[in-house]
């Protein structure tokens, strides 16, 4: 069973619907007991960093998440579910979980595209992800695939070895992170069509070992 963490964030059901479509049993839950028993955990999210962290702490889910990470359970963070894994977010001046070193920063307002037009914030729409690592969760994604993004803040991880994918939007930023049994993506695989579903399907069959099977 796959636990989808319920920390009162928006749009939990879109991940559930995607997993139902792919045929992986899952449950949206905030029950510590259920999360402890889960084979895998998805930590989704739409919302602001401040209220997300407050809800996680209130529900004791930050503690459970760290515990399951130590225990080796494969964990996938999506969007805000990635952002609160780092040390700090500029959004609402939020101290985050500190699982991955680094910060979440607001896109500068003066970013320009190649034609000198000012880029809009949020970064919303389809953009390419250049995967840097041969990671099982990102296997079999067709080259040139684009993913769906909606965010105004971007990950700025301190450890370059944890960058699994990069995306260009006026600046180059880390759009996928990976560390041992943890994978986190800034885009929404549940809204990214077949390549996104491929990533979800890979995760739902992943044993938590970041090295590709030989």
């Amino acid at each position: 069973m796959i636990a989808i963490l319920d920390y009162r964030a928006g749009n939990l059901t879109s991940v559930e619907r995607a997993l139902n479509h792919l045929g992986f049993p899952c449950r949206i839950t905030d029950s510590h007991e259920e999360i402890r028993k889960a084979d895998r955990i998805i930590f989704p999210g739409v919302g602001a960093a401040g209220s997300s962290m407050a809800n996680l702490k209130h529900l004791g889910l930050d503690v459970i998440l760290k515990e399951r990470l130590e225990a080796g359970t494969p964990i996938l963070g999506i969007c805000v579910g990635l952002q609160v894994l780092l040390d700090y977010s500029e959004e609402n001046d939020t101290r985050c979980m500190g699982i991955l070193p680094g910060k979440i920063r607001l896109f500068p307002s003066n970013l320009m595209d190649g034609d000198g037009k000012r880029l809009k914030i949020p970064h919303m729409g389809w953009n390419a992800v250049e995967f840097r690592l041969a990671h099982p969760v990102f296997a079999n994604v067709a080259p040139g695939s684009e993913m769906y993004f909606v965010h105004s803040y971007y990950p700025d991880p301190a450890d370059a070895h944890q960058v699994a994918g990069e995306t260009e939007y006026g600046i180059r930023f880390a759009s996928a992170l990976a560390k041992e049994n943890l994978v986190a993506v800034q885009f929404h695989p549940e809204k990214s069509g077949p390549p996104g579903l491929q990533i979800l399907s890979n995760f739902c069959q992943w044993n938590g070992n970041p090295n590709p099977a030989r």
Binding site: A48, P122, N127, E146, K191
Partner: protein, 259 residues
């Protein structure tokens, strides 16, 4: 770099698509769920479902359509038409829509934008604007006026001023429809699109007038639009989304081509 989005729009009345959509494949062309899946598989970047059901007591039919679409397609889709209250927004988003769009309801009660953005986030709230060209005046300095009821009722509101106000209230995106261009298939209203898109910090979807891929090149380049809405040119099978995207790519516009 971000791709420009190509967004088919399906009009739905009482749970059925309304335009005579012609396809050779064995699909029910009146079923919005099957049509949504068809466009999803054909490479649409997003889909707009516009509910033109006249009677409000038939709204549950649309919510059922939204639920079934959400189980079928895994790209963002928005729902507009008939959304007047925070409760309508909540019902539609919970049914699985990524975004809701408000148009005349927001003109009559701008606070619905703020309420929606606060409750669900700006990324969920699209402002639909129907606009007509008028002689510039002190009331309408941009020469573009907000209209409702399909263009029959002029509201005395300047389109650019309204767009900026909607951004202030928390709208996350604007779907900009030119009533003058709508239905002509002779091209988008480029001047209007450029005016709005270059003066607001949020994405603008151009709507009204698409008849050929070169119109889309114009509105995405000259008009500075972030996305282009299309209807007849794909509904009647004149062009496929892949053909349109190949044309745009060849014209130097970045689009999503792998799906």
């Amino acid at each position: 770099m971000l791709s420009k989005r190509i967004i088919p729009c399906l009009d739905v009345r009482d749970g059925r698509t309304t335009k005579g959509i012609k396809f050779k494949d064995n699909i029910d062309i009146g079923d919005p769920v099957e049509m949504g899946r068809f466009y999803y598989e054909a490479g649409a970047d997003e889909i707009v479902f516009y509910d033109i059901t006249a009677s409000s007591d038939r709204r549950p039919i649309m919510l059922d359509v939204v639920r079934r679409v959400a189980e079928t397609i895994f790209i963002p889709f928005s729902v507009g038409g008939g959304i007047r209250t925070l409760e309508d927004m909540r019902d539609t988003l919970l049914a699985g829509a990524e975004k809701v769009s408000v148009n005349s309801a927001a003109v009559q009660n701008p606070d619905i934008i703020r309420q929606g953005a606060e409750a669900f986030g700006s990324q969920c709230v699209v402002l639909g604007m129907d606009v007509k060209k008028v002689p510039p005046s002190s009331q309408i300095p941009s020469g573009y006026e907000i209209v409702i009821n399909g263009g029959r009722k002029h509201m005395g509101i300047d389109a650019l001023g309204w767009a900026k106000e909607a951004v202030r209230l928390g709208a996350g995106e604007i779907c900009l429809n030119s009533i003058d261009a709508d239905g002509t298939q002779e091209g988008y209203e480029l001047e209007l699109t450029r005016l709005i898109s270059t003066n607001v910090p949020i994405p603008v979807i151009a709507s009204g007038g698409a008849g050929a891929p070169e119109h889309m090149v114009d509105v995405l380049k000259t008009g500075s639009a972030d996305a282009a809405l299309i209807a007849s040119m794909v509904h009647y099978g004149t062009y496929t989304i892949r053909q349109i995207k190949e044309y745009l790519q060849a014209s130097g516009i970045k689009v999503r081509r792998t799906w």
